[in-house]
């Protein structure tokens, strides 16, 4: 702590602070804008950051209440925003959990077992990941269209189909978790084996508890990815009450009539589950879980 510092350090620290403050402002500005738009009466995208007269009109409509406007007419909510929110949360939680399950077990196999074509599989997963899912939209549409004839809950316009198409995202996570597993000393599982643990028990009782930080990261990342996903969801889902929030909020933006206020309220709602998930998962994002087990 008592390191000798150059004399101009004070100014440099202040410069760094100013830069960071400016940076935070830059990030916060769009967010504040959208909150401001959602609280403005009428549907205007432009205006001052702090609205002159605050109106809860858009929020009431988004949360499913009727709104009595100043001239006495009653406006009913046009869209089921809350069920969109519920759809989004449902699809995201199910997808992220499945991704976690598949990528953890897959990564364990890739990190610890020796089998034929292992390197080839890993590399092809990496390469396939490089093509965006959007490229396969047409394929997704036809596949699920046909699939629906045999398994109705995996057909077009179902959340099952959406979850299944998102599961393609496991590949990057397999790489991520595999890297983490490989940083854990193999001797831990060997000594578990000597203690009488089966490979599954060693995985469940030793490796998994030590990997909680990376599992939390994978869960959060896939949750954020899924809840904001637009292209695939917009093609697979058709009924208004089945839409996710990301696709649904687009409904407010009709070509002739951009309902900016309602759109903004819906957009802020999308951020809500992400915040909740992040705050919950944060306490698992601790480093240094493995320290002390083996000589570093």
């Amino acid at each position: 702590m008592a390191m000798v510092q150059p004399r101009n350090l004070k100014y440099r620290v202040w410069a760094a602070r100013l830069f960071l403050i400016a940076f935070v402002c830059m990030i916060m500005f769009p967010f504040l804008m959208i909150i401001s738009v959602s609280l403005r009466s009428g549907n205007f995208a432009t205006g001052s950051l702090i609205p002159e007269n605050i109106s809860l009109e858009h929020w009431a409509l988004a949360l499913g209440f009727n709104w009595t406007s100043a001239d006495g007419t009653i406006i009913e909510p046009t869209f089921p925003v809350l069920s969109w929110l519920w759809n989004s949360v449902k699809v995201s939680v199910v997808t992220s959990s499945l991704i976690l399950l598949l990528s953890t077990t897959g990564a364990y196999a890739f990190a610890r077992f020796r089998f034929r074509f292992k390197q080839g599989l890993l590399e092809s997963m990496m390469v396939l990941q490089m093509f965006p899912a959007v490229l396969a939209l047409v394929a997704f549409y036809t596949i699920f269209d046909k699939l629906g004839n045999f398994i109705p809950w995996l057909g077009l316009n179902t959340h099952g189909a959406l979850v299944l198409s998102y599961l393609g995202g496991v590949t990057m996570n397999i790489w991520l978790i595999k890297g983490y597993f490989e940083s854990i000393d193999n001797a831990l599982e060997e000594s578990a084996a000597i203690d009488g643990a089966t490979p599954w028990q060693a995985f469940r009782h030793i490796l998994l508890p030590l990997s909680v930080p990376i599992l939390a990261v994978v869960f959060i990342l896939s949750f954020i990815g899924v809840i904001g996903e637009y292209p695939v969801a917009s093609v697979l889902l058709q009924d208004v009450d089945k839409l996710t929030l990301a696709v649904g909020s687009k409904q407010y933006l009709n070509p002739q009539n951009y309902l900016w206020g309602d759109f903004a309220a819906a957009a802020v709602l999308t951020g809500l589950p992400i915040t909740v998930i992040f705050l919950t998962a944060q306490r698992y994002l601790v480093s240094g879980l493995t320290s002390g087990g083996v000589k570093g």
């Binding site: 000393d185 001797a187 831990l188 060997e190 000594s191 578990a192 084996a193 000597i194 203690d195 009488g196 643990a197 028990q201 009782h205 030793i206 508890p209 030590l210 240094g288 879980l289 493995t290 320290s291 002390g292 087990g293 083996v294 000589k295």
Partner: protein
Amino acid sequence: MAEVKLCNLDKSYDDGKTYVLKNINLDIEDGEFVAFVGPSGCGKSTLLRMICGLEDITSGELFIDTSKVNDMPPNERQVGMVFQSYALYPHMSVRENMAFGLKLANHDKKTIDERVNDAARILQLEPLLDRKPKAMSGGQRQRVAIGRSIVQEPKVFLFDEPLSNLDVSLRVQMRQELARIHDNLKTTAVYVTHDQIEAMTLANKIVVLSPLAEGAESNLEQVGAPLELFHHPRNKFVAGFIGSPKMNFFKGEIIETGSETSRVMLDSGEVIRTCNDTSRAKAGDKISLGIRPQDAISEASGDNTVTGTIQAVERLGTESFIYLEQAAIEDSCVLRVEDSRRRENGSNFTMGIPAESCHLFDSHGQSFVRTKAPHFD
């Protein structure tokens, strides 16, 4: 409590292309403490992992307590292993670490508590039972690792360089502690180390392994009691490996064979009388003469002496190490003398070679029996 028997054990990778271990035959008796030593790459850790069941056995047979265990998984072999890296479960307390295996085996809570407390008492870990590994020192962690195997009541303890991560003073302390634990439990133990002092002080029996040479029959060089290996190395490899500093070797040839004493001439011309039985050789055979650094007599004169020039001197107070250069020396030559006088680099130094301290090896590295080696029990 069990004996371990290794019969013609081989280990190879790539379908027999690269052999690491070949033809290992070894009997470890019940209650014995056996140390595997050898330079790095000799396969000593691999051999230990084969006994443990973490590496499969390419060919040959392994018996623990008269039953063949080649195809048994580690836990069925009833062995306990202590890793160099400790391999403690970092998310569990000391108590949970030790109880983990017992819980998996569905022992009742009373047995688990009893065994954990017993082990903690033996290892003086009682005050630390609720700590996590990261809150402990290296020595304490290593004791927990030992405790984790003790509670399993294994037939054989396996140690894979358990002390090499500790600092010097702690290593000496843990060495004595290991000796005490083995005295208490009397369980058969196999110990891998590259530190020959650990091997010499702890083991009843030392197994010297060498990196497998091209076309060699086996890389098991010698098995024996520590002092037997020190005084009667079977070959040049063991002679050079056991003892610190290393034995010095001189090139030469036999000029007179005999069953009690022999005479050899070094490549530099000196004639040395040695107490070795060379009756199986003939005059003119190439040999290596070995002499331990502490056996040579400093500043001698007359017969049985070798003169060289001083390369460097290390003065340590009560003793000095003198590095010599001379035409017949293989590799390097160091002497230990019991004074710390100033000696100039480049000056001549004559050392006396007592005939009864000489080791003699033929051109294949096999030793000629020493006829007047000191007695030991």
